[in-house]
Subunit: 332 residues, 2 copies
């Protein structure tokens, strides 16, 4: 039996464990929480996935070596804030020919590096064996085997190996060579999801949200190009597709945070009340820094930043957005 | 006072009348229904826009000459099925230097021409003065002056004139040179809205709908390129933006039709029950013809066609879609 190790037994890591188990892998989930680990091993249920039943071939451990050693695939499914620390501990344990799959959406808040970069910087031999998995995928629906599509980006041999590993009757995994675009799309889309939520919370209508999504993709692609991505990637599954999901589905934390702010609740109060990790809150800071550094205009990102961190109101932000100069849709 | 004539006093024509009236135009709506005309003139209310109150400078008539003569802007806001007949009657009445704004989303069902082409074929001198207006715009929200963005595409002088005419504090009108892409996006997006509705009606989850939207934009762009459009246009307001709106807002007729079919209701019964015009039902036939003629692969469009016109079930269609071969996200 082929073995897979998954770092992080949150909703997403556990859903991906089910996919690999369905494809014949013996899966070991690592989590630092011993209560999460024992619940998986003893009750065979994932509390973070509405209590769904886990296949027999999925187990959990608190010991890094038990998850990583002997695994031909390692998945990193952890928040962007901890990738740097985790990579330095787990990176050296990864087998010489194993594939590393980064499933984190966000940027390292300290260095603004993409998560896959952080791993490769920790262990340089991972360069040709690291892929990014990103797409419009609610974990709960994947664990229920509802139909979905996702993207796997990386070097040619690695991305094809990963496509084989994740391909199931309910999950179509498309390959893409543009690792930068796929990874940035998954990170930046949370900013636009926050903006859509704000518009909804302030009752600005559907037209406004559709405009935010379209114009948001345009400005994300503009920054992405400067950072080495292919602009068309942002119109694909990992950019637009994921943005549509976070902006319209009822489960996205970024959107929920935006809605609360749009209704007038301070973001700190929302975080206290829900206990959520909202990736977009740090991504918007990173994007503003990158946009300034590279001289890229990002009106929606800037307004979201001002609303979150400089105390302007959603109405004021809307007014600033709508009163910008007349423009063509795309620069020629 | 500048005068504008609008052909068709449906929801969209009436909403655009309000925009132009807000910008200082004296607007005359033409409609063939004398009851619609007298309601506008006598009650100053638009029954198709939730009874919203109309500005004093909006009137209506059943006489083509009264709407068109003396107008510096003429808007065509009629279903795609009647553009050919209307253009031959109204075209010769349009003033020599007037702008023609085509706001119809769909293709001529007989000849598969875009609506703007039909107008130009009827009156060749319109070529440099015809623009297309298309974007993620629910008419009711526009009439309520909720914030929105739209696209105006055509020759440079014409599109800039039109941008001035439609620009208001609540409507950002972006210009685009790619008239083919903007017009095709507005037409083809209804096919994908039908597909999303079907997935929702059959309870396939949010991941599936996000996948349909992303993969749908990809296949629409593929056909559009063959027909002379810029692929990136389909990722903009008139393509993706409008698709997001029709697929997620609660007002789209195409989505509602898809939901009914997804729940198992025959499409003929849905049309009888609601009395709706569902543009996507003829657009899907046009797209299948164009795709065959030009040898373009359009899996989602083909499945929607088979479900609507060849009696396969939504489940069977889903199975056919999911069991296609492994692929890269974009052809290189």
């Amino acid at each position: 039996l082929r073995k897979a190790g998954i770092i992080g037994a949150g909703a997403w890591g556990t859903a991906l464990a089910i996919v690999l188990a369905d494809n014949g892998y013996d899966v070991m989930l690592w989590d630092r929480s011993s209560s999460v680990v024992s619940e998986i091993n003893e009750n065979r249920r994932a509390s973070r996935l509405l209590g769904i039943h886990l296949p027999k071939t999925v187990s959990a451990t608190c010991v890094p070596e038990e998850a990583i050693e002997g695994s031909s695939i390692v998945i990193s499914a952890i928040p962007s804030t901890v990738v740097s620390n985790i990579a330095s501990v787990f990176g050296p344990l990864i087998e010489k020919d194993a594939l590393l799959v980064s499933a984190t959406k966000g940027l390292d808040p300290e260095t603004l590096r993409r998560p896959s970069q952080v791993w490769i910087d920790a262990v340089s031999s991972l360069k040709e064996r690291t892929v990014v998995l990103s797409g419009p995928n609610f974990a709960v629906e994947i664990s229920q085997r509802l139909p979905a599509a996702t993207v796997i980006a990386g070097a040619e041999i690695a991305r094809k190996r990963a496509q084989e590993a994740f391909w199931t009757p309910y999950l179509r995994a498309y390959t893409n060579w543009d690792i930068i675009g796929v990874e940035l799309g998954g990170a930046f889309k949370n900013i636009i999801a926050l903006a859509c939520g704000m518009a909804e919370g302030a009752k600005l209508g559907f037209n406004g949200q559709a405009a935010i999504i379209s114009r948001g993709i345009t400005e994300i692609a503009r920054l992405g190009m400067v950072l080495g991505a292919e602009p068309f990637t942002f119109a694909g599954l990992s950019g637009l597709g994921d943005l549509v999901l976070t902006s319209t589905g009822h489960l996205s934390r970024n959107r929920q945070a935006g809605i609360a702010v749009g209704r007038g609740e301070p973001i700190s109060q929302f975080l206290d009340r829900t206990g959520y990790t909202v990736e977009g809150l740090s991504t918007v800071k990173s994007a503003v820094s990158l946009a300034e550094k590279h001289g890229v205009t990002m009106p929606i990102t800037e307004i979201v930043y001002k609303i979150l961190y400089q105390g302007i109101s959603v109405r004021q932000g809307l007014y600033e957005t709508m009163s910008r100069e007349k423009r063509p849709e795309h620069d020629q």
